[in-house]
Amino acid sequence: MQSIISSKGIYTVISLRGELDESCAAALRNQLDSQLCNTGNNVVFDFGEVSFMDSTGIGMLLGRYKKLKAMGKNVYIANPHSHIDRIISMSGMYTIMKKIAI
C-alpha cells in the first residue's frame, strides 16, 4: 500500500494505491499522520487505485478523520471502487466524510 500526497485546488489529496488490510495498516497510519500533520487544507482520500479494503480500512479512515477534525479540517473520499464504496457506505462513514469527485 502506497500513499502519495499532492495538492489539487483547495484540497490536499492522499492517493492510496494497492490493498488495504491489517498487514499494512500500522505503517500506513504512521505515514499518513506524518504526511498530514501540517496540512493547511481540507483532505481528500482518493481510493481510485485501491483494489481491496476490509474493515481495517474503516478503522484507519476513522482514526485519520478524528485527528484531522481536531485540526479543523474536513475530510472527503473520492473514487472508491464499487465494493469499497459499499463497505464505506455500510459503516456510515459517508455521513461524516462526504464523497466528492476530484
Binding site: 490493498e19 488490510d21 491489517e22 498487514s23 495498516a25 497510519r29 481491496f52 476490509d54 474493515s55 481495517t56 474503516i58 478503522g59 484507519m60 476513522l62 482514526g63 464499487s82 465494493h83 463497505i87 455500510m90 459503516s91
Partner: protein, 153 residues
C-alpha cells in the same frame, strides 16, 4: 464435492494470500466479480480476527482454512484458530463492537462477513479457539457462462 485445506502462520502478510487462494478456488462456480470480492472480504475479516484477537499477534501460531465446493453453486469457507476465543459471540457480532478501540479497530468485521456471505456460523470457547463457517451461494454468471460456452462450441 471439491475441497481444499491450508494451514498458514498467523501473520498478517498471509491475509492477501489466503483470500486470493479462496477466491481462486471458488472461480469454478463462475462467480461475478462482486461475489469474488464478497468472499475475499469475508475471508480477510475472519483471518484478521484470528491474528489480531485469537492470537493477539503471536506469529508462531497457525490458522486453518478450508473451502468446500458443494454442488454447483455453494462455497463453504471455514477459518479456525486455537487462540483465546471470544467471550461473548453475540456481543462480538454487533456492529461497531470492538475489544480493541485503542488500535483503531472498527468493530465491523463480523458485520461485513454477515453482509457479504449468505450464512455465518461462529463457535468459540475460552482459550480453545474460534471457528467461523461462512457459506456463499454463487448466483453469478451462469447464464453468461453457458451462452459463452455454447457460442464457442
Amino acid at each position: 464435492m471439491n475441497r481444499f485445506d491450508m494451514k498458514l502462520s498467523a501473520i498478517s502478510s498471509n491475509e492477501a494470500f489466503a483470500r486470493s487462494c479462496v477466491a481462486a478456488f471458488c472461480v469454478s462456480l463462475n462467480p461475478t466479480i462482486e461475489e469474488i470480492n464478497d468472499i475475499k472480504t469475508a475471508v480477510s475479516e475472519a483471518v484478521t480476527n484470528s491474528i489480531v484477537h485469537g492470537y493477539e499477534g503471536d506469529e508462531s501460531q497457525y490458522i486453518d482454512l478450508s473451502v468446500v465446493i458443494d454442488g454447483d453453486n455453494t462455497a463453504i469457507v471455514t477459518v479456525s484458530d486455537n487462540g483465546r476465543g471470544i467471550e461473548d459471540v453475540n456481543k462480538a457480532m454487533e456492529p461497531f463492537f470492538t475489544t480493541k478501540p485503542e488500535q483503531e479497530r472498527s468493530g465491523m468485521g463480523f458485520t461485513l462477513m454477515r453482509t457479504f456471505m449468505d450464512d455465518v456460523a461462529v463457535t468459540s470457547s475460552a482459550d480453545r479457539g474460534t471457528t467461523v463457517v461462512m457459506t456463499k451461494i454463487i448466483r453469478g454468471q451462469k447464464d453468461v457462462g453457458t451462452r459463452g460456452h455454447n457460442q464457442a462450441d
